[in-house]
Symmetry: C2
């Protein structure tokens, strides 16, 4: 889900791996926490909460990891297909592609005489011409084929680690209610810290980021709790 | 999660809303299906599977929707912050920014004399200059502030709709095992159709796309089932 933007060095400090950890942790801390909280309001046994929680972590981390892997592969295939198409177009309908270059340069704000010169230079070499179209017309950067499996693994692992944090409380407590109390304390602290660090990393106001992250978790957990309560009291 | 690429018209046919539906449905069909499948191997009551499934759907759709909304808001704030910064830089260190324009044009493949002329034209007007830097140096397009709440709502709803499909089987069957059988049939058919349509929409081979989508769901459900079985048999 959601990768492969250009990363200009001096404006962003996060690497692709850090971004994947953030993606996995955000969902991993939130959804299993909320599911376990919801079940705590509906069942009498911590064992059931743990079983459902672990099943969710496995399901979620496979869906996110494998889904991310396939999305990454699709991105590589998409790039290659568009690349082939641009080479074909440059060969078959060069006048159309030349007009597209001219249009892009007009949007940038170049005068007619500069454009005339620039179009001639940009279209002199087919490789350079196609590279220009890929990047500036389509906004596509060549994706790194080795990124997809790495991303999948990182997101999966981060999701599982994130999910085990709220669930751990149920392992060491006797009742679901007690588990929920400690789970909420641990998870909200983690969400606050994580939201703070994430916002610092992306240059956003960190205290606000911490509160937002904890707010999403609390809201999801509260809603899941209410729904599970309502069903079981029917 | 994952938005705001430039959308060149003749190469992609999907709108932002369709993309959001795809995001929500992919996860909604997969994770609640896998969780319910996992629990079916571990508990005797369909009521418990339904309770856990609905709690998961509520948790997941709030986490995805609200998470998506906050991410969209952050994107708007990030754009505005970078915009302010570029205006500042253009005013305070114009020679540095002019050199950056020249560097970008060199990468495109323009000759020195064309660059000389182009740099002068692109930096004549501060608004145009900043717009050029935002788009071509940072790869940032002005985000639409009304997109975040719309996206959040669409993703949430799609997740919930997707999740109710596999869960519906447990409403009309007597035992979790029977529920699982029908849930698997319905969900795999939906994943095949959805994968087929999604791949057609994005110009990928549709049959392969259908199989991949169903494969992710089957694998996640199988793994969740095994894990839940193992825990409860301890």
């Amino acid at each position: 889900m959601h990768h492969a933007h250009p990363h200009p060095e001096h404006h962003l400090t996060s690497s692709a791996m850090l971004q994947d950890i953030v993606i996995g942790l955000s969902d991993g801390l939130t959804v299993p926490f909320a599911l376990a909280a919801g079940l705590s309001g509906a069942v009498q046994s911590s064992g059931l909460v743990i079983t459902a929680g672990l099943a969710e972590i496995v399901a979620g981390s496979i869906a996110m990891g494998l889904g991310g892997y396939l999305a990454g592969r699709t991105e590589v295939e998409h790039y290659d297909a568009e690349l082939k198409r641009e080479y074909q177009e440059v060969q078959d309908v060069p006048h159309v592609e030349r007009a597209e270059v001219d249009e892009l340069l007009t949007e940038m704000g170049l005068s007619e005489s500069t454009r005339h010169q620039a179009v001639r230079e940009l279209t002199a070499d087919p490789d350079q011409w196609v590279r220009f179209m890929m990047k500036y017309e389509l906004g596509l950067e060549k994706p790194d084929p080795s990124q997809a499996p790495k991303s999948a693994f990182t997101i999966s692992t981060a999701y599982a680690v994130g999910g085990l944090i709220p669930l751990s409380a149920y392992f060491v407590t006797d009742t679901p209610a007690e588990g929920l109390l400690w789970s909420a304390v641990i998870t909200l602290v983690c969400l606050l810290i994580f939201g703070y660090l994430k916002s610092r990393m992306t240059g956003q106001p960190p205290v606000m980021g911490a509160l937002k992250m904890a707010g999403v978790g609390a809201l999801a957990a509260g809603a899941a709790f209410l729904v599970a309560r309502l069903i079981t009291q029917e």
